[in-house]
Symmetry: C2
C-alpha cells in the first residue's frame, strides 16, 4: 500500500507530520513525501524544511494521498496546474483522497469537492462553499465517498486514526493511538471557535496575520 503526502512551498508542517506519524504505523504501507521537485521544501514559518524524496510523476497512482494546508503557499498550490493535474489523476485511482486544514482548497481547485460535504480550517468554511461548491461541515473530519477532509492543522491526527482503522481494523488503529500515546489533554479548552471567546478568536487571527507565517 502506497501512501503519499504532498509537500509544497509554504505548507504547515503539522498538517503533514501528524497524519504521517499515524499512518507510518500501518503495517505493509510505505509513505512517501512528494513534491514537484526533490529536495528541501520550506514550511510556512520559514524555520523548517521537510525533504521531498519523490516527484509527482514518480507516484502517479498512490492508494492514499494527503494534501496538507498552509497560508499563501496553499493559494499558490491551488493555482498550480501540475499539482492540480496530479491530484485529479491520483484521485481517480486512489482508495482515499484526503486533506488537512486549507489543503481542502487544493482538492476544491481540482474540482473534487463540488456537491460534496467537506471540512477545512475553522475560518475558511465560507470560502470552501463559495469557491468550490462544497457544503462545509464543522466537524473534526468529514468523509464523503473516498474523500476525507480534516479541520485545521491538528485535526489531521484524528482523521489519520480514522483512515488507519479503514486501512486496517479498529484494534490496529487503537494500537497505533497507544503507540503515539495520543491521549490528548490540552491545558486549555479553546481549540474551536464555539468553545472560546470573541477576544481569543481575534487574538488568534492577529497571531496568524502578524506572525511569522506566510
Amino acid at each position: 500500500m502506497q501512501i503519499v503526502i504532498l509537500l509544497y512551498d509554504g505548507l504547515t508542517a503539522l498538517d503533514a507530520i501528524g497524519p504521517y506519524e499515524v499512518l507510518s504505523c500501518v503495517p505493509n504501507a510505505t509513505i512517501s513525501f512528494v513534491a514537484e521537485s526533490n529536495g528541501p521544501i520550506r514550511t510556512d514559518t520559514n524555520a523548517l524544511a521537510l525533504m521531498a524524496e519523490a516527484t509527482l510523476t514518480e507516484v502517479p497512482q498512490p492508494d492514499v494521498l494527503l494534501i496538507p494546508g498552509g497560508n499563501t503557499g496553499t493559494i499558490a498550490a491551488a493555482q498550480n496546474q501540475q499539482i492540480l493535474d496530479w491530484v485529479r489523476s491520483a484521485y481517480a485511482t486512489s482508495r482515499w483522497t484526503t486533506s488537512v486544514c486549507t489543503g481542502a482548497m487544493v482538492l476544491g481547485a481540482a474540482g473534487l469537492l463540488k456537491g460534496k460535504r467537506a471540512t477545512t480550517y475553522w475560518s475558511a468554511g465560507p470560502f470552501l462553499e463559495s469557491n468550490y461548491g462544497a457544503t462545509y461541515i464543522a466537524e473534526r473530519y468529514v468523509q464523503d465517498g473516498k474523500i476525507v477532509t480534516a479541520a485545521g492543522v491538528s485535526a489531521g491526527i484524528d482523521m489519520a486514526l480514522f483512515l488507519a482503522s479503514q486501512l486496517t481494523d479498529t484494534e490496529t488503529a487503537q494500537a497505533i493511538q497507544l503507540a503515539l500515546e495520543y491521549d490528548p489533554q490540552p491545558p486549555f479548552a479553546s481549540g474551536a471557535p464555539h468553545k472560546t471567546t470573541q477576544a481569543i478568536i481575534e487574538k488568534a487571527q492577529s497571531l496568524l496575520r502578524e506572525g511569522k507565517r506566510r
Copy 2:
C-alpha cells in the same frame, strides 16, 4: 527569545513538530532546528528527513531547548558526548529545558533528572527511574523547576501549550490553541495504557517492534 529543537538521526518527527507548530506562534520568538551538523536528518521511519539549519555550537545559549524522542536513535543520542555536553551547558542558562517522549533519556544521560519528577513514553518510566534517578510521573507533562518533560509523541503538543502560556500569557496560549484548531477528538479512546486492554497494549508493542521504526 530563542527556541531550539534538537534533531538527531532516528528521532520521531511528531515529537519535534508538534511543539514546533505551537511555539512558532509565540510572538517575538525564533525557532531553530539544530543538530551536530547542518543538513537533512532522517527520522525513525526512514521515510522523512527534517533539515537542521544550525549546529549545536552556533546556539550555545537558547532560552528554550526541546529534545524529541525516538527509538534506537535516542539511545545513540544519549551516549553522544557532544550532544550531552551541549544539553548540560544549554540547560545551565536556559529558561526552560524540555523533552518529549524518550527525549527524557537524553536529559537523564546528561545528569539533569536525578532526584527530579519527570515523565516519558508510557513503557519507558521504569528505565527512567532505574537509570537516571528520576521519579516517573504518569502525567501528560511534568514540570520540575525549569525542566518540563512530556509523555509519548503527541504529548509534546499539550506540553508546548503549557510552555507557550509560561512564555506569554494564558490568553495568548489559548489563541495559539485555536490557531492550530487543537480541539482533539480522536475516534478511539486508547491513547494511554490504563485506558485500553492488554491485547491492544501488546499489539502496540508489536507494531513498534516489527514496524518500520528503528
